[in-house]
């Protein structure tokens, strides 16, 4: 029976290919949007993940960096730096705001670094200087391509103009490109002299991040201390949360679309093969086996669509950022596997109506000429 179902399906190649491509299209949409959100979310945490100090110290009540404001007094840095467990403390000032470049207004994270500071600055350069001086800025290379401003050009942060001196790599996401300026310039913009936003604290050898965090909490009041992993997890979760509803909606819509395509193709297969199904019934085909055949055909169509979508996701999606550099796309194996389960579910749902048609089919149809 299943041999017949299999051969019967593959004998109608145009239906099979058309349906599989339609399903693949729906699944590709889901995987693509998922890759966009996952890529963006990973880019959003690119800065804290690359800095990777043992712990981050921030204002009490603040638990993340993305879209957050944090201010701590500069003397608290001195207290922490004096602790025996501490190897090094690097302060940064940080704020998120609109920047203006050649008429384009973009949202960006601006990080202020102490003069000559390498520890908290860009980790890979495309061109120019890594360290900005007074009135200078290092911007993401992708931002330079999008806006057209290059080294030597001027951009504006609030009411301050900055000359671009370096183009960094890996610091761009559409939600928060990271721009580096001096700490003094940013303090001037924010009128925040005597304060820092975050302290990047590295522990001495033999001291674990957890021990260091506990030590700082005991020593300094009104600060929050998180390991890099905790801060990254918080920001990543926040970013994904912002997209999760859209991803869920997209998944539901595209899955419903895929189920409709599976259902339609299974239905058209059954409708077109009504007489043959009646013959199978007349020749002793059991109802369970017939329903099984319809479900098998639906599963094959859905899985073929799924496989096409996976091949596309693995081969094509990673190439998209080469053409569209502002897009950060990450294809997750977990999401692909999850999509496989969705494909199976879609096949079963899509097979319900055709299966009921098969159950009601009159075997006496076999006698019709």
């Amino acid at each position: 029976m299943f041999l017949w179902a299999w051969k019967s399906l593959f004998s109608q190649r145009s239906t099979l290919v058309g349906s599989s491509l339609g399903i693949a299209g729906a699944f590709i949409l889901v995987l693509f949007f998922d890759a966009v959100f996952r890529g963006e979310s990973e880019q959003i945490v690119a800065y804290p993940a690359h800095m990777n100090p043992d712990v981050w110290v921030m204002q009490a009540g603040v638990g993340n960096m993305h879209m957050a404001s944090s201010y701590i007094w500069d003397w608290k840095m001195d207290v922490i730096a004096a602790m025996p467990e501490v190897e090094r403390v690097t302060p940064i000032l940080y704020f998120a705001n609109i920047i203006e470049a050649r008429g384009s207004k973009l949202f960006a994270f601006v990080v202020g670094l102490q003069s000559g500071e390498h520890r908290a600055g860009p980790w890979e350069m495309s061109a120019g200087r890594r360290i900005a001086g007074k009135g200078e800025a290092v911007i993401p290379a992708v931002l330079s391509r999008i806006t057209g401003i290059g080294i030597g050009d001027t951009m504006r942060i609030t009411d301050h103009d900055f000359r671009v001196v370096g183009l960094s790599r890996g610091t761009y996401s559409s939600a928060n490109p990271v721009i580096f300026v001096t700490l003094d310039d940013l303090a001037d913009i924010l009128s925040a002299e005597g304060t820092y936003s975050y302290l990047l604290v590295d522990a001495k050898e033999g001291v674990s991040p957890k021990q260091l965090a506990e030590g700082i909490r005991r020593t300094v009041e009104k600060v929050n201390v998180l390991t890099t992993a905790e801060l990254v997890a918080n920001d990543f979760g926040l970013a994904m949360q912002m997209g999760v509803e859209i991803i869920f909606m997209m998944t539901m819509i595209c899955s419903a679309l895929a189920a409709l395509i599976v259902g339609f193709s299974a239905y058209s297969l059954v409708a077109r093969k009504q007489r043959e199904l009646a013959i199978v019934k007349a020749l002793g085909g059991r109802r369970g086996a017939l329903v099984g055949s319809v479900v098998l055909q639906a599963v094959i169509v859905a899985l073929l669509g799924y496989l096409l979508a996976v091949v596309f996701a693995l081969l094509v999606i990673p190439q998209v950022p080469l053409l569209v550099p502002q897009l950060s796309l990450v294809v997750s194996i977990g999401d692909i596997l999850q999509m496989g389960l969705v494909a199976l579910l879609v096949a079963v749902i899509g097979a319900v109506i055709p299966a009921s048609l098969v159950l009601r089919l009159d075997p006496a149809l076999a006698y019709q000429v």
Binding site: S8, F10, L283, G284, Y367, V369
Partner: protein, 279 residues
């Protein structure tokens, strides 16, 4: 006494209800022993296919019962009927009804999965049938590449794969040329004679009349035996002999039925019946 392969008792099938009810088959009883080839004839719409569908367990009668090899199939539910259809009955259809995607061999073996030992146990039987019906060299061919005669031979082999005691054939020569039709009829004849299977043949093919053990006439849902001589009547207009049972052009005048050879004769009669009846 030999047990009949098929026994149908008071079989009735009514379509519709109330004033629109049509009795497609009306109180038909029929018994067929092993080895008998029975031909069922009748005009279009007489209920032949309905009767055959009920005999094969494809259609439930409104009343009456069908017994095949001692099993009352009209009492079986939809879960048990498929086994009877696959193992006890061989179906042969006018339009062959082969499964397009399967090869000749796969089509022949298709009903075998319900028999003991399944498809693998049926392979020797399939080999034997293909050899006997001249299909061995076409075993890998798809139905679309076969001639009409080959298709019907595949259908016959498929009907015989599970060695059923009853073969139900609906117009098996209807889509074949006369030579191929003759060939198929001879195969069916041999199946009844040599293998002792009961064969029910619904056909318009007059050649079957000579080889059938019994000829039954179905009209208006009723079945009549016409194994004796023809019931000849004379066309009152042209004087030609007309078989009362097969005639479809009939008029009634003063309580008497008149049979005609052609619409022309009937029209002339209907215009002035007294001119032709001496009234």
């Amino acid at each position: 006494m030999t047990e009949p392969v098929l026994r149908a008792s008071h079989l009735t099938r009514i379509y519709g209800s109330g004033r629109t009810a049509v009795r497609a088959v009306d109180d038909v009883s029929l018994t067929i022993p092993p080895g008998e080839l029975v031909m069922i004839m009748g005009p279009s719409g007489s209920g032949k296919t309905t009767l055959l569908s009920m005999l094969g367990g494809l259609l439930r009668p409104t009343s009456g019962e069908v017994v095949i090899n001692g099993t009352v199939i009209t009492e079986l539910d939809e879960d048990r009927l498929p086994v009877v259809r696959a193992l006890e009955i061989g179906f042969i259809f006018q339009s062959f009804n082969l499964l397009d995607a399967l090869t000749v061999e796969e089509n022949i073996l298709f009903p075998a999965r319900l028999r003991k030992g399944g498809v693998s146990a049926a392979r020797p039987r399939a080999e034997e049938l293909m050899s006997r019906l001249g299909l061995t060299h076409r075993r890998r061919a798809l139905p679309r590449t076969l001639s009409g005669g080959e298709k019907q031979r595949v259908a016959i082999a498929r009907a015989l794969i599970n060695e059923p005691k009853l073969i139900l054939a609906d117009e098996p020569t209807g889509n074949l040329d006369s030579r191929t039709g003759q060939e198929v009829l001879m195969i069916l004849h041999d199946i009844a004679r040599d293998e002792g299977r009961a064969v029910v043949l619904v056909t318009h093919d007059p050649r079957v009349e000579d080889m059938a053990d019994r000829v039954l006439w179905l009209e208006d849902g009723h079945l009549r035996d016409r194994s004796e001589a023809h019931h000849w009547a004379r066309d009152p207009v042209c004087g030609m002999k007309v078989d009362e049972w097969t005639a479809t052009l009939i008029s009634e005048h003063e309580g008497q039925r008149y049979f005609f050879c052609s619409p022309r004769c009937k029209a002339r009669f209907d215009a002035a019946p007294d001119d032709w009846t001496g009234g």
